[in-house]
Point group: C2
Chain length 186, copies 2
DNA sequence: ACATTTGTCGACTGATTAGTCAATCTAAAA
DNA sequence: TTTTAGATTGACTAATCAGTCGACAAATGT
């Protein structure tokens, strides 16, 4: 792992633990095992670091999900795969997922303008629109559908995090939740 | 409005605008029109202020909802009233609702231990349990149901905030969302 | 071999911050 | 009227923090 990645990993850990407020750049550098100045070599300001970390996480998550989708599947399978893989990833990367939420409900969110992230979201919305046009999903605004799926994802993740079920029960719950969601949208 | 309330109002405004990180206590005091020391008279530390503000908002929201429920209604009406009133309140108190989310997904959340808030949540869970026992709501874990309702609430709020519909369309969407949620849970 | 860019270091600084404190004010009780 | 307890003030401080800078090292190109 190179220094830049070490910095991101250290920042993730400390931001989730102590918040943006509670983590000085000096402690991030220390945790990453680099000098103070090195951090500012890669990220000119603390805000840059905070935003870059968010983008980096979202990109990693999107990559994971994109790797799992199989071509030529029907809508339900496609959405189900994405939903379930997103959850798996979230459960295996709790800190990352928590950071995403922390960032998203903070004022830093307003600083975000990433073409890459926009592209991913456009793709998701496009998939939803296609499913609506093909009369698979109910004819409701795309943003509405998208928000519903996202908040379901957050909700079930929060539940699973607290409930601490064994793996079998957990997978059952995930599949069941997608079932409820799918019935709701179709 | 007395000084203590002025402090809470100023803190809310600035925390939502600039985050916990970006708002010094000195600016809160200034915005509230009180001296620096007065703030620390009411809230010994900045953390105290942050947590107290959260509790104060949740309590105000719960009070509003409690005022609207009518006795002797069936389960659907009861849940619908609560769901809709929660949304109305959220739409009319955007800053407060945003603060709640900001706080909840931050590490400050771990500091929270309020008997009053616990009591409100217990009541909600109790209502859900009763509806399950009476076979109105599906037999799933109470926490699961609770999480589903909460995340629906967050999702639809986020959608409405961004979509900026006129009042009629907004009310329609709210009613429709509750419909979908209710069908899912029963 | 040399030159140039890029990465790394850590001591340093100017500005800012949470929280203190002794003095003053207010209002109601005794 | 006098006492007393809480409310209010704002100057003050000790500590902390984001970001700089000049020196040096490593890698890369010529």
């Amino acid at each position: 792992m190179d220094k830049q990645q070490e910095i991101l990993a250290a920042a993730l850990k400390l931001f989730v633990e102590n918040g943006f407020h509670g983590t000085p750049t000096s402690k991030i550098a220390k945790e990453a095992g680099v000098a103070n100045g090195t951090l500012f070599h890669y990220y000119p300001t603390k805000d840059d670091l905070i935003v870059s970390l968010y983008i980096s996480i979202k990109l990693r998550m999107a990559t994971h999900i994109a790797e799992q989708i199989t071509d030529g599947a029907d809508y339900k399978t496609m959405f189900k795969t994405q939903f379930i893989q997103a959850l798996y990833w979230a459960m295996e990367h709790q800190a990352e997922f928590q950071y995403v939420q922390q960032f998203y409900s903070s004022p830093y969110q307003a600083m975000l303008q990433s073409a890459e992230l926009q592209q991913i979201m456009d793709k998701n919305c496009h998939d939803i629109q296609r499913a609506i046009d093909d009369k698979v999903i109910k004819d409701l605004p795309v943003d509405y559908i998208f928000t519903m799926i996202s908040s379901h994802l957050n909700g079930i993740h929060q539940y699973l995090k607290n409930a601490n079920l064994d793996e079998k029960k957990q997978n059952e719950t995930i599949a069941q939740t997608f079932g409820l969601l799918w019935d709701m949208l179709t």
